[in-house]
Symmetry: D2
Subunit: 348 residues, 4 copies
């Protein structure tokens, strides 16, 4: 078969990030979904596991090894440690790897070892890898050999603090990040705390100060600040399907005023289609970004305590995973980065 479309494949297509990639890529005008793999469901039709796709996708799930040779771009949504060898295989067949896992996010191997308990097996590969948050690292992404797609929580934080750090408006110590994620963030695997009667009408923190997204957050904030930044990061499980809200607290530097900061955010994101700085007085809400690749940011100041409060919201499955991965692919391939990502969030 001859086609002008870009041949894309997904490894780990039955996980939540994977099937969201399937859904979005099936509507992407420039790609053809060529191969999808799953360890758990190899040999089955994807529609057997996900009947929402019934009639829209006739692919069967193959093994991971079958994917790279059939593709120009391979998306991988795998547990950490599995993407490095995969990157080798992709390189061998000249396929671009967009990795949604953690293997290519941290530039400092020591951090990776500390938080993930592993070392880099293929150090060479990491030299061409880029931490792919488009609104911050767009130019590097366009040249990347391997795309390390950011984590969901870190996306809210990096976009939420970028103008404040670049503008030098806040102290870089003592930053508090209180994040809340919808249950899809915990994935498709069955666990007690994601059992409906356990998660519904419930709310609690988890992994306070110990979540693996911490070093990734600190890496980007340190880069933006030009010096090491450590943060306190506490995620919570929110009884909704989709959405992350991060409320970020930072001490204002002396003399920093709200209007100047607000103008800096507007300026930083004026040309960014996917980042929407909310009008003054409004609050970013996860419902306004559902099913979309938008990141909504609202700014607030507590004058009594000289604290900047940033509320940053994304759909964890789109801007926090599959959507941002497609945005990165678009960038890397020279397409308009919005391609395939123009469906608007619904009001309800």
């Amino acid at each position: 078969m001859i086609t002008d479309k870009i041949r894309v494949g997904i490894i780990g297509a039955t996980g939540y990030a994977g099937v969201e990639l399937v859904r979005l890529l099936l509507s992407h005008p420039n790609v053809s979904l060529t191969a999808i793999s799953s360890t758990s469901f190899e040999g089955q039709a994807i529609t057997d596991i996900y009947p929402n796709l019934f009639g829209s996708c006739s692919l069967k799930l193959c093994s991971a090894d079958e994917v790279p040779p059939l593709c120009d771009v391979v998306f991988a949504a795998l547990p950490h440690g599995l993407s490095e060898p995969l990157a080798e295989k992709c390189a061998a067949v000249n396929a671009l790897l967009v990795d949604l896992g953690a293997d290519f996010r941290l530039t400092d191997e020591k951090e990776y070892t500390e938080w993930y308990g592993k070392t880099y097996e293929y150090p060479e590969l990491h030299k061409g890898a880029v931490y792919a948050l488009p609104e911050i690292y767009r130019d590097a992404i366009k040249q990347a050999a391997v795309i390390g797609n950011p984590g969901c929580y870190p996306t809210t934080v990096a976009l939420g603090l970028m103008p404040a750090l670049r503008g030098g408006f806040i102290e870089t110590d003592g930053i508090i990040i209180d994040s809340k994620s919808g249950v899809t963030g915990a994935g498709r695997s069955l666990t007690q705390n994601t059992h409906y009667p356990d998660a519904n009408e419930a709310f609690a923190a988890y992994k306070a100060g110990a979540h693996r997204h911490t070093p990734e957050i600190e890496q980007t904030l340190s880069d933006l600040a030009g010096k090491p930044v450590k943060v306190t990061f506490v995620p919570h499980l929110l009884p909704v399907n989709r959405g992350i809200e991060s409320s970020i607290y930072a001490r204002l530097k002396l003399g920093a005023d709200f209007d100047t900061i607000y103008a800096a955010y507007e300026n930083a994101y004026r040309d960014e289609y996917f980042v929407r700085v909310q009008p003054k007085g409004e609050y970013a809400n996860i419902k306004n970004v559902r099913m979309s690749n938008f990141c909504d940011i609202s700014l607030h100041i507590d004058k009594r305590t000289s604290t900047l409060i940033v509320c940053s919201c994304i759909d964890n499955m789109v801007k926090g995973a599959a959507g941002q991965a497609i945005q990165n692919m678009n960038l890397r391939l020279g397409l308009d980065e919005r391609t395939g990502l123009t469906a608007l969030p619904s009001a309800f």
Copy 2:
């Protein structure tokens, strides 16, 4: 400005059906959204009321009268009684009216009077009006002078029973329809029973045997059966945002067997993109059609009581309102009826 795009407008754009039309039409490749009106919010930007559209729509809300002259197609989502005079105005400027209200659904004025307490003020207009359920009345829709877009519940029932009635597999008396609708079906207006603490973790029937969709359901079933059909219809309020499930019960005629009926459904809907007959043994679920124009139908038989059970699911805001309206516009204008309606339902 010169444009080849079809100019479309929405009257009642801040109601739930209206804003869903805004969302979907903004992504429709062949149309340009020209004018949107609202009685409550005239003069304001739509994004003031619906921040999900922030950055995607710069239109201000005008008055209803301003819309028709600016449009080739006018969608109206209004309380009953208001669409008849509007149809006159649309006709005067040669704009096609797609009416999402009840004024152009019932062919028998007596039924309209009995259930809505009004008479037809412009009887001539009704001659060119078509009850626009595409999978049943496609040919007529292509010629319609006015499009009467079906109600949400009736869509599930008509599609759920069409092959059974045409095939003569079921008795036409004693049909029971037990429907459940998400809360958006009750609209944007604030009411006690749609207040979050009242609706959440709650479930109850309402308007048992007395809902205004009853005559519309019976009109289509009677037409399909070739004789008068009366039904028992009981809707319930379901604690979800979107989705209708109708469980429909009908006594099987002697000799009707499951495989024959199933084959008749498959046959009837083989070429219908938006109707998906589920594999045997599966159950139609509202979650598989969310945000899409699909109607999922599953078939079941209780042999012990010779009863056919049809489960029919739609997204009440899409196939039950805005999506079907766009499908009808597409049909009437000679476009592929799927245009602008290809976003796939998500798995979660």
Copy 3:
């Protein structure tokens, strides 16, 4: 330790019915919770599994065999087939068995075999067993050797139709029961369709015409009607934690009028504390019975089709399981049947 309190134990205390028994029995003024068992968590404190009880219960989970000798009353919440041998052991130590499983519900062994695939191993035990729906079989319960606590769905149906059948107001064929249950009805075990992202914002039927509560429903309705009754029963999974609503449809006999039927219901339940016939025009709603042992019933008539519609609501974990079991124990032991069951449902 000497105590005048009734010593009660629970076998299967970490399942949902079991832990609901723990919660309610800890507040019961006449009992002392003596022993609780669990196969999965033997040796652990119950508060390790259920932190809601933290500080309120210091019991450790033991093995099932340890329970009967320590108790005057044993509640068992076990998979079918396990309660028969347990009844033997309880009889041996003179402990009353209140069985929340299915083993002692069906009087006709053939029905048990057909729906559960097993035979009765201890036929003698069934002679003294009573199907323990207090509002229908109160006198027999007071003498029962073994208490067979009804299923959740059957409780809504039997109470919902009792006055109509006893009064001869409805035809006994063609009864349709469309039931919806909160997710706790599916129990504590992890399954894909009770995974939060699968169950939330979802709704579907399951086991249409094939649910094991069908013979139990038919047994009681047949007894009430004085002749064999077969029903069409279709349950649905409802995205709430607790609650069952059954909408029941029956054809009216000629001449049956609403006021007479309503009076019959009022009369039948006037002295029943736990059954609340709703005012005319109101609809029974699961939210009004949450956390209580009430069954709310509302009555409606579709005159156009001569159909009686009964909406019957309970909390599936209380009146549908643990609460009714305690009501039965109270009755059997000569206590006021409301003892320990007086907490009122909350408004939200």
Copy 4:
């Protein structure tokens, strides 16, 4: 009628705090609910508005003025500014006022004026008023002339930080409080952001740094610290009916270690029935306190940033309003403070 029971009344009985008081007081063994008032529904039966109470309460709603003369204790759940004149009336008839509003919480009139825009009309009354958080001010409550029942958010914060402040483990500046409240916290009045489709699957902050509970929080923390404390307080609306979780962040003083702090919390709350310090490693969750008067507290430390993280959970309608009010009445009247508050939280 002669009765030994305490005669209690509720002013504002149809608001959410009011009807929760009705529910709990109806089950309180030492009181008799004598009079309930409502401005909106005067003359109607409470069960017309709250059918959950159907059959359990035959009271009609009267006017506010009728209540005090009929009562030994008056609970008032009113908008601010209305409780001062009421306190006068209660004093005149020797009835104890338990005020759930804001009028008697702040000892510094300047704070009241700054945040509520009013002055104290009856300064004398405030001298005998006590800010009634039992676990902190128990002795004073026993002597109070007027009981100022704490706000919901402040209860979580005061209990969450009391041992840390008394023990001097944390810096008193820079405290961040990120709170999340269920929708009942917004009350019964209909608003757009508590409309089900707006609140469901949504999450956002509101009134960042500007919520009226701020001065109340600071008043108690300052008292505990022995010096002025200012905090950053940001509430969020959580899509559940009931529950508040506050995640509180404070910088550790040099040398403060987790085990010492944990022991201080255990020690502080060892004899407090309603405060449950969670085992190390566990997280306080709103689901474990639902429908109860418990406050669950979990402690966590981020060593990397020397930050103490306290998660504090209550049911906003019980410990955050009606339950704590009853606890205070019990204390003031010399009853066991747990009376009427022993219903255990359910697991789901």
